[in-house]
C-alpha cells in the first residue's frame, strides 16, 4: 500500500507502525474547553483522535466543529460522520467543509437509531448508508466528482475509514461485510470494542483467509471497564456487544475500589494479546468519559512513544 492522502495516520500505518487512535465525545453544549482539555490530555499518546458524531443519537456539538478546534491545536482528528442525520447534499457539503480545514481522516458510519437518543420522535434520513458513504468520499477524493457528476474544485484528501463489528449477528457475513466495505473503498477499519478475543481472532483468521488484512488497515477497538456495573451494562444492554461471562466475573471478583484498575489491566492484556494477531495494524482506544486513562493504557501496552512522522 502507498499513501494517498496527507493523513499522518495513513503515513504511520503505511510505514508499518502499530497505529494508536482514540476518541472524544463533544460536549452537550458549546463549551470548547470540554473537548480541548480531553484532546490535550491524550494528544501525545495517539496518532489521531476521532470525534464522534452525535453518538447514541444524543444531540451534541457537531463533529466537524470539534475537529476544526483540534486542527487549530495542531492535533490530527478523524471526522466521524453518520448518515442518519443528513442527506447526500449535507454530507458532501460537510466533507468539503472538513476538507477546507485540511481534515484528512473520515470514519463513515450509519449511526445508531435515533430511538436511543434525546430526540426519539425525530425523523431519520438514511438517504445513503455507510457503505455508500465510503463510495461517496472515494468518488469525491479520487475522481474529484460530486455524486451529481460535477467536478469538485480542490477535492477532499481524506483517508477513508469505517467501523466493523466482528461480534454482531449473523457472524457468517461479518467477514463478507468487511470485504464489501473494502470493495466500496475503505482503507482503515476501527472495530467494535473487543472483549471476546477468541471470536475476534476467528474473525481475523477468516479475514486473512481472504487476504483482506492486506487490503485494509485494521485497528482493534478496546474500551476499559470502569466498573463491574459497566461490564454488565455493556454485556446486557449495548446492541452488538460481546462481553464473555469470564470478563464480567473478573471485574466483579475484585473490590469496588480496585475495579477501575482491573479494567485497565484487562484492557492492557487484551492489547498485548491482539498485538500478536496477524493483520492487527493498530489500536483504537475508546475510553468512554475516561480519557485521562489513555496515556497509561498506551504506555503500559508498550505503544509509547508514538512514531514521529510528520
Amino acid at each position: 500500500m502507498s499513501t494517498k492522502t496527507p493523513s499522518r495516520l495513513e503515513k504511520i500505518l503505511d510505514a508499518g507502525h502499530l497505529a494508536v487512535t482514540s476518541e472524544c465525545g463533544p460536549p452537550r453544549g458549546s463549551d470548547l474547553e470540554v473537548i480541548t482539555k480531553k484532546a490535550d490530555m491524550i494528544k501525545d499518546y495517539v496518532d489521531a483522535i476521532n470525534i464522534t458524531d452525535n453518538q447514541t443519537s444524543v444531540t451534541r456539538l457537531c463533529s466537524l466543529a470539534a475537529c476544526i478546534h483540534l486542527k487549530m491545536m495542531g492535533i490530527e482528528s478523524t471526522l466521524q460522520m453518520v448518515t442518519r442525520d443528513r442527506n447526500r447534499i449535507a454530507l458532501q457539503s460537510d466533507i468539503l467543509g472538513a476538507a477546507s480545514f485540511d481534515i484528512h481522516n473520515i470514519l463513515c458510519l450509519s449511526g445508531d437509531h435515533q430511538q436511543f437518543g434525546d430526540c426519539p420522535q425525530g425523523q431519520n434520513v438514511f438517504d445513503i448508508d455507510s457503505m455508500q458513504l465510503i463510495q461517496t468520499v472515494k468518488l469525491m477524493r479520487d475522481q474529484g466528482k460530486f455524486l451529481g457528476g460535477d467536478d469538485i474544485d480542490r477535492p477532499p484528501q481524506m483517508f477513508i475509514g469505517a467501523a466493523a463489528n466482528p461480534f454482531a449477528d449473523p457472524f457468517e457475513i461479518r467477514v463478507p461485510r468487511l470485504a464489501k466495505k473494502i470493495a466500496a473503498g475503505v482503507e482503515f477499519i476501527q472495530t467494535q470494542c473487543i472483549y471476546n478475543l477468541d471470536k475476534f481472532e476467528l474473525w481475523m483468521e477468516q479475514a486473512r483467509d481472504r487476504g483482506l488484512h492486506e487490503k485494509v488497515y485494521i485497528l482493534a477497538g478496546v474500551t476499559p471497564f470502569k466498573s463491574a456495573g459497566m461490564a454488565k451494562y455493556m454485556k446486557n444492554r449495548v446492541p452488538g456487544m460481546d462481553v464473555p461471562d469470564e470478563v464480567v466475573k473478573r471485574m466483579s471478583g475484585v473490590a469496588k475500589e480496585k475495579q477501575p484498575e482491573e479494567g485497565i489491566n484487562i484492557c492492557v492484556e487484551s492489547i498485548q494479546r491482539l498485538k500478536e494477531v496477524e493483520g492487527v495494524r493498530g489500536f483504537h482506544i475508546m475510553a468512554i468519559e475516561w480519557e485521562n486513562k489513555v496515556p497509561e493504557i498506551v504506555e503500559r501496552s508498550g505503544l509509547y512513544p508514538r512514531p514521529d512522522i510528520g
Partner: protein, 222 residues
Amino acid sequence: MIVAERKPIDEIIGFVKDYNKILLVGCNECVTVCYAGGKKEVAILASALKMAFKKEGKELEVKEVTLERQCDHEYLEELRGFIDQYDAVISLACGVGVQFMAEQYFSMPVFPGLNTSFMGGAEESGVWSERCQGCGQCILGQTAGICPISRCAKRLLNGPCGGSTKGKCEINKDLDCAWQLIIDRLKELGRLDDYEKIIPIKDWSTERAGGPRKVIREDVRL
C-alpha cells in the same frame, strides 16, 4: 393492504362535539380486513359516540353507511342524495378515503376516524406488520424478496448494521432484523455470494422525496 387503527374515542369526540347529526362512513376494503373501519367497526363507533353524548346530556344522531370503497369517486357518489342532511362526516377509511371524501364533498366537514398505519399484511390473526413503503422503484429482486426499506429501521441497502443481535433489530427485541432475514433467504436460495454485491445509492426521487406522485396510464384512460 393498507393497515389502519381506530383513533382514540376522545379524539373523535373532540372532532364532532359541537354537531348534532353526523354521517359515519366505513369502507369495505382494507380497513374492513384489518378490523378498523368496516361495517362492524362503524356500528361500534356509532354506539360509543351516542353513549358519550348522552353522558353529557346531549343527543347525537348518527347515520351508519359502509361503502364498497372510499378511494373511488364512483362509490362515494352514493352519499350524494342524503349527505346534506348531516352536519359532518367521520370517515373510517384510510387517509386516502378521507381525502377523496373531502374532495368530493367540498363544503362538508370531514374527519378521520382512523390513523393510517402502513402497507402490510396479517402475520397471524390480530397481528399486522409493514412490508412496503411505496418507494416507486422495487428492489426486492436484489434483496431475496425481503424489503430493507420498509423492514430495516435504518432502511440500510447494504446492511446489517452492527446492532443486529440474534436475528433481532437493535431498536426492538421483538423486531426481526431485515438483513438477517435477507441473508437467511439468500442462503436458502444458494445465492449468499450476492450479499457482497454493493447496492448502489438509491434514486429516491420516485419516493416521497420527489414530491406527491401520480401514475398515468394512457391505455386505460377514458
